[in-house]
């Protein structure tokens, strides 16, 4: 698109100067590229960042993982969940560190957004597992957690734009993304994809952030359709809020790619509903 859009340019310019995720994420990513890397070396690097370590252990010990024993060290966490899951959790942890507080708007704040994002992640993981597309679904948990990162940028850095968007959402009863397109000439999927670029996140993650409302346009439509449905299920079960009170339309072709039957849909929704208790949502605190 070549049309001038100063509103979007201002947001994207802010994205280009966003703080990067915790340094430890880049360090671990670099270490994992080397097949000779030992678990204890990774544990040492991660443990040096106390706030990330604390959040990481909180997540690993949450009922989402359901380990019988208490995990108290990073090296033990690596043994149990593996390098890749650890890296994903570091990314999710550092993201939550970056976007905290912010302003509270009617029905919308970083708190409600993270609750919605976590629910989307849990739903995405449940879908991936039940459809057999991913054995542990860990990547899907993170993809769900990050799908609305573009909205987090708006909440943190552009509260006045959020106000204009919410005004439209409430007056017209439309989706947040529809109001974004009127106010910004673009939406959070574009902003989120720019964040993913800026942070050099894996291409699959950028793809599902960019296409969670238009899964068939994704390079990996199956993965994007998983996040698309997960977003709808999180909304349906009333976990958190993405800043509106309506539903995006279901992309039926994307949904069909998942080959879900009614029984699986029921199981997935029940699993998400069970998993998202007050106690579990406390990992967001």
């Amino acid at each position: 698109m070549s049309l001038a859009n100063p509103e979007l340019d201002a947001v994207l310019s802010r994205v280009s100067s966003l703080p990067t995720p915790a340094k430890v994420y880049e360090q671990v990513t670099a270490m994992l590229a080397d097949p000779k890397t030992a678990a204890k070396d990774v544990a040492e690097v991660v443990s040096a960042d106390q706030s990330i370590t604390a959040r990481l252990l909180k997540m690993v010990n949450s009922p989402f993982y359901g380990f019988a024993e208490q995990v108290t060290t990073v090296s033990r966490a690596i043994t149990i969940i593996g390098f890749e899951a650890l890296r994903n959790l570091i990314l999710a942890s550092s993201l939550m560190e970056l976007f905290t507080g912010g302003s509270h708007r009617p029905m919308f704040s970083l708190e409600t957004l993270w609750a919605h994002s976590l629910a989307t992640g849990v739903a995405a993981r449940a879908i991936a597992k039940r459809t057999g597309h991913a054995a542990d679904g860990e990547e899907y948990l993170v993809a769900g957690l990050m799908h609305d990162v573009g909205k987090a940028v708006l909440l943190q850095y552009f509260p006045e734009k959020v106000d204009a968007i919410l005004q439209r959402v409430l007056a017209q009863g439309c989706l947040f993304s529809e109001a974004e397109r009127v106010v910004l000439g673009s939406d959070h999927t574009v902003i989120g994809a720019a964040v993913a670029e800026q942070w050099r996140l894996p291409a699959v993650l950028r793809d599902s952030i960019a296409c969670h409302h238009t899964p068939l346009q994704a390079e990996d439509p199956l993965r994007a359709s998983t996040i698309h449905l997960a977003d709808i299920l999180a909304r349906a079960l009333l976990f958190g809020s993405g800043g509106d009170q309506t539903m995006p339309s279901l992309d039926r072709a994307g949904y069909d790619l998942l080959h879900l039957n009614d029984e699986k849909l029921q199981q997935i929704m029940a699993e998400v509903n069970r998993g998202l208790t007050k106690e579990n949502l406390a990992i967001l605190a």
């Binding site: 009617p106 029905m107 409600t112 609750a115 106000d163 204009a164 919410l166 005004q167 439209r168 409430l170 007056a171 017209q172 439309c174 989706l175 529809e178 397109r181 009127v182 709808i232 299920l233 909304r235 349906a236 079960l237 009333l238 976990f239 958190g240 009170q245 309506t246 539903m247 339309s249 279901l250 039926r252 949904y255 009614d262 849909l265 029921q266 929704m269 029940a270 509903n273 998202l276 208790t277 007050k278 949502l281």
Partner: protein, 108 residues
């Protein structure tokens, strides 16, 4: 006057220009007042937007606008699914969600 996307169109709004489908079929005339049925028709024909008169929420400021509140979680689910219930899968998801939240309450 403003161009509104399909989801923002409401019954009672008045069209500035006629609405033509991507296939070139005239679906509504300039000056016409929109009805619920016409908006559904636009959706079926794949109309993306329409230009309408006087779209600003009259006198509404952000602070005046409050989210909808609901008597029950089931009412909230019905409300948020309102425009998607024609889709059989969405209808099923709404039904399942109502059963599940009834057992659970709100976890926020």
């Amino acid at each position: 006057m403003a161009i509104l996307i399909l989801a923002e169109l409401k019954p009672g709004m008045r069209l500035v220009r006629g609405v033509v489908s991507p296939q070139g079929v005239l679906l509504a005339h300039p000056g016409e007042e929109l009805t619920e049925k016409q908006i559904r028709l636009f959706k079926m024909w794949g109309v993306a937007d329409a230009e309408i008169m006087d779209t600003a929420p009259r006198g509404a400021e952000a602070s005046d606008l409050k989210p909808h509140t609901f008597d029950s979680l089931a009412d909230e689910i019905d409300f948020i699914f309102d425009r998607e219930l024609d889709d059989a899968v969405m209808y099923r998801i709404a039904g399942l969600a109502k059963d599940l939240v009834a057992q659970r309450g709100r976890p926020r």
